[in-house]
């Protein structure tokens, strides 16, 4: 932040206010003039220089004048303004701190100090100055100063947001709201923060107030999407759908489209989810996220061929999006196109090497291919076991694959590991019994089949 709110305006007020200067000797003594005359000369020079935008000369003249009135807070105030206007914020801050010491109840000094601190990036000090300003009696503050303070808070809030200091930013916007100010842009920022930080009901109120308070189409759309997201967070789905639809009707945005799709998706309304993502995709064709949502919902609705077409398109245009490959693989698997599914999963592994369960998915795909590739499945499953050593399902799959390869000892070892990791499915015990049978360990196999019987008796 390098623009000061109302600094020059405040300075002009100072210069026309008429100052009572004291006198001390400091510059080379001019015996032809009294100290009062010298003071008046320097003060006048300071005023003229400031009006001519010569801030360095103005500051020098204020300093000279201060030599004749070292305890004059107004002079320090003027010096602070001149230094600030010259972007010498440290010097401005020092001068204004002197001014504050000499005139502690003067709101314009505190306000200028807050502005200088904000301009210098000392946001915490600026906030402290504004807090001190708030403690002064309101009648001591002019309307213009109050407005300047509000504008400064808005600037501070934005600067703090840029630094991800959300609590302090929220505090500034709340204080602005408390003044009675209802600027839609401020309310939208406030509502966004409230929603992101968890004050959903407040976000709904402020977003709805912003919606009602503006005729601007973009702002109304933004307000509706914030309200919709807040309702969604509170699981008020009917209100969320209403607001998000209103936002999309005004100006479709990716965030509104995805949120609305997700609501329908999680409430198992696949047709509506498809309808929303299809219409959004037509309006925002460049959005990979919306296209992936469409593909995903087509898969979930059993429209696998359409899904594959959509997702092939997405992965062609946005190959860095792992979800595109993941859902394309799913669609191809469901269509029985296992080589294409394997190719999509290999692309997924390349796009996102740490993608959860990618190795397990690859193993399943190569096992479904005709003929199944057991060796490759073992390689994928071994990597999966290393990545998630407590996943009993991976060891079960390893056990089954080794069994299919006729490697019964390794099959039994992996199935025992699955049981050790907490698997209590009768399928695991049954497979272990079969492996032990093949190994000729009849008694142990019988034990496993007995366990299968017991587990089935309790529904497992």
């Amino acid at each position: 932040m390098h623009r000061l709110v109302g600094m020059q305006r405040a300075c002009a007020l100072l210069l026309f206010a008429g100052l009572a200067w004291g006198a001390i000797s400091c510059p080379p003594s001019d015996t032809s003039q009294t100290p009062a005359q010298q003071f008046a000369k320097y003060a006048s020079q300071a005023q003229q220089a400031f009006q001519a935008n010569d801030y360095a000369k103005a500051a020098a003249s204020f300093r000279n004048a201060l030599c004749f009135a070292p305890e004059n807070g107004s002079l320090y105030y003027g010096l602070g303004l001149a230094e600030a206007a010259a972007s010498h914020f440290d010097r401005a801050r020092d001068a204004l701190i002197h001014a504050r010491r000499l005139s502690p109840g003067e709101p314009r000094v505190l306000l200028s100090l807050a502005q200088v601190n904000a301009s210098a990036g000392n946001f915490d000090e600026s906030i402290a100055n504004l807090a001190q300003l708030d403690q002064l009696a309101p009648e001591h503050q002019q309307r213009e100063q109050r407005q300047t303070a509000i504008e400064l808070r808005a600037q501070l809030g934005q600067a703090l947001l840029a630094q991800n200091r959300f609590d302090l930013a929220l505090a500034q916007f709340l204080r602005i709201k408390q003044t009675g100010m209802s600027d839609p842009a401020i309310l939208l920022t406030l509502a966004t923060l409230e929603n992101n930080l968890g004050a959903y009901a407040d976000a709904e109120r402020d977003a709805n107030a912003a919606f009602a308070g503006t005729a601007n189409r973009e702002q109304r759309s933004t307000a509706a999407v914030i309200a919709g997201l807040a309702y969604k967070n509170e699981k008020k789905n009917d209100d969320a759908v209403r607001s998000l639809r209103a936002s999309i009707d005004l100006a479709a945005s990716e965030i509104a489209c995805l949120a609305l799709t997700e609501i329908f998706e999680t409430s198992a309304e696949a047709a509506k989810a498809i309808e929303v993502s299809q219409s959004c995709s037509a309006v925002i064709p460049q959005s990979a996220a919306i296209a992936i949502a469409l593909g995903r919902n087509l898969v979930n609705a059993g429209r696998h061929e359409q899904a594959a077409t959509v997702l092939q398109n997405v992965t062609h245009n946005a190959p860095d999006q792992p979800e595109g490959w993941r859902w394309l693989a799913q669609a191809e698997t469901l269509l029985g196109n296992y080589p294409k599914a394997i190719a999509a999963l290999q692309q997924l592994a390349r796009a996102a090497p740490g993608y959860p369960m990618v190795d397990s998915m690859l193993a399943q795909a190569v096992l479904k291919a005709d003929p199944p590739n057991y060796e490759e499945a073992i390689q994928h499953l071994s990597r999966a076991a290393q990545a998630t050593p407590s996943d009993s399902d991976v060891f079960f799959m390893l056990g089954r694959t080794y069994f299919s390869m006729g490697r019964y000892a390794e099959s039994a070892d992996n199935l025992r590991e699955a049981i050790q990791l907490g698997s209590n499915s009768s399928l695991v015990y049954y497979q272990l019994g079969r492996a032990l049978e093949k190994l000729g360990r009849e008694a142990e196999a019988k034990q496993q089949f007995e366990t299968v019987r017991l587990l089935k008796s309790i529904g497992q």
Partner: protein
């Protein structure tokens, strides 16, 4: 004597999740939507209370040198401390779910009290925005608790504004509540409205007495005068297996949690034979004050019916009682050992 309303009417809004669901979670923090909520007034609905971040304020007054009114922005502009601590309802059953492990964030209460000029030897009254009638025929009153100043000035005590990383949900005290780790939940006043500092020995306000508030949450026996409950008593629960579980013979990973209000959990012992023999369980997280500790025990389960029991002891040497004190007439501090019966096929 004026009768208290039934305890049932005081404990509204309870969550109904099963102990097994709560305690079998793989995280040591309780998910926010599974944290219990207990309200003191049946007719108070926090969602309709119109408490907003912009309108909320907290007044600190009484025996202070600088009475003050704080806004939510004032709290946000103060250093926020984080505190992981357990919250348990004083009326939580022996294996009940009115207990949660939470990450709180807020302003240290002592910081605010110091700014107001309160002294640690004061007693301090906390008042919530929630309002209603506790006693039959009495006037409506705001929920209020009185806490010793020493605990209020302790670093762990907060005016909390966040729970598990988000602002407090309505039902958990939005926008601000006090948190007194180590004390039962009724002291951690929700929807905080006012703090009144009382001088040492100063009489509590008559309205507080008349509301019936001091008689809530007290140990009641036939022979002794009521004593307010305060610190959480040592307790453990078995999360897995739950009662009536059927299992096959195998090594069963018995697990659960243990906690205490003062100090930390020293050990947890497990019996698989109805309390005849006890074996030490493994503490799988390191015991810390105000936190629960997860424990596990690998039980080689053989066929038959078994009665499992867990029993915790804390660093102060206090152990869970084997059974409820028969003299107790109230329904608080329920920390006796609970048998869990299961069948191995």
């Amino acid at each position: 004597m004026i009768p208290l309303l039934s305890r049932r009417s005081l404990l509204t809004g309870a969550t109904a999740s099963l102990a097994g669901e709560l305690l079998s979670q793989q995280t040591d923090l309780t998910a926010t939507d599974q944290i219990f909520a207990r309200n003191h007034f049946t007719d108070f609905d926090p969602a309709k209370a119109e408490l907003t971040l912009a309108s909320w304020s907290l007044r600190i007054e009484g025996r202070v040198t600088h009475p003050m009114t704080l806004s939510f922005s004032d709290l946000l502009e103060t250093h926020l401390a984080k505190q992981e601590s357990l919250l348990e309802c004083a009326g939580n059953g022996e294996s009940g779910t009115a207990v949660a492990m939470c990450r709180w964030e807020g302003v240290q209460l002592g910081n605010l009290l110091e700014r107001a000029g309160a002294k640690p030897d004061s007693n301090i009254l906390f008042e919530g925005y929630d309002r209603g009638t506790l006693l039959a025929n009495s006037v409506p009153t705001n929920y209020t608790r009185i806490i010793p100043g020493k605990k209020c000035f302790a670093p762990e005590s907060l005016v909390a504004i966040r729970l598990n990383g988000r602002f407090l949900p309505d039902r958990n005290g939005f926008p601000a509540r006090v948190i007194f780790p180590g004390r039962y939940g009724m002291d951690s006043v929700k929807w905080l409205r006012r703090i009144i500092v009382l001088a040492p020995g100063e009489a509590v306000p008559a309205s507080y007495i008349e509301s019936g508030m001091p008689r809530l949450y007290s140990r009641l026996t036939k022979k002794q005068p009521p004593v307010p409950v305060s610190s959480i008593l040592v307790k453990s629960v078995i999360g897995y297996p739950s009662t009536d579980t059927k299992m096959v013979p195998s090594v069963v990973p018995v697990s659960g949690y243990a906690w205490t209000g003062d100090g930390s959990v020293k050990e947890v012992r497990l019996s698989v034979d109805g309390g005849r023999n006890w074996d030490r369980a493994r503490l799988s997280t390191s015991p810390k004050p105000f936190n629960w500790v997860r424990w596990t025990y690998n039980w080689s389960a053989s066929s038959g019916k078994h009665i499992l029991m867990s029993r915790a002891e804390d660093s102060a040497g206090k152990a869970q009682p084997m059974s409820r004190d028969p003299e107790r007439l109230d329904a608080y501090e329920l920390n006796a050992v609970v048998p869990v019966t299961c069948t191995v096929l």
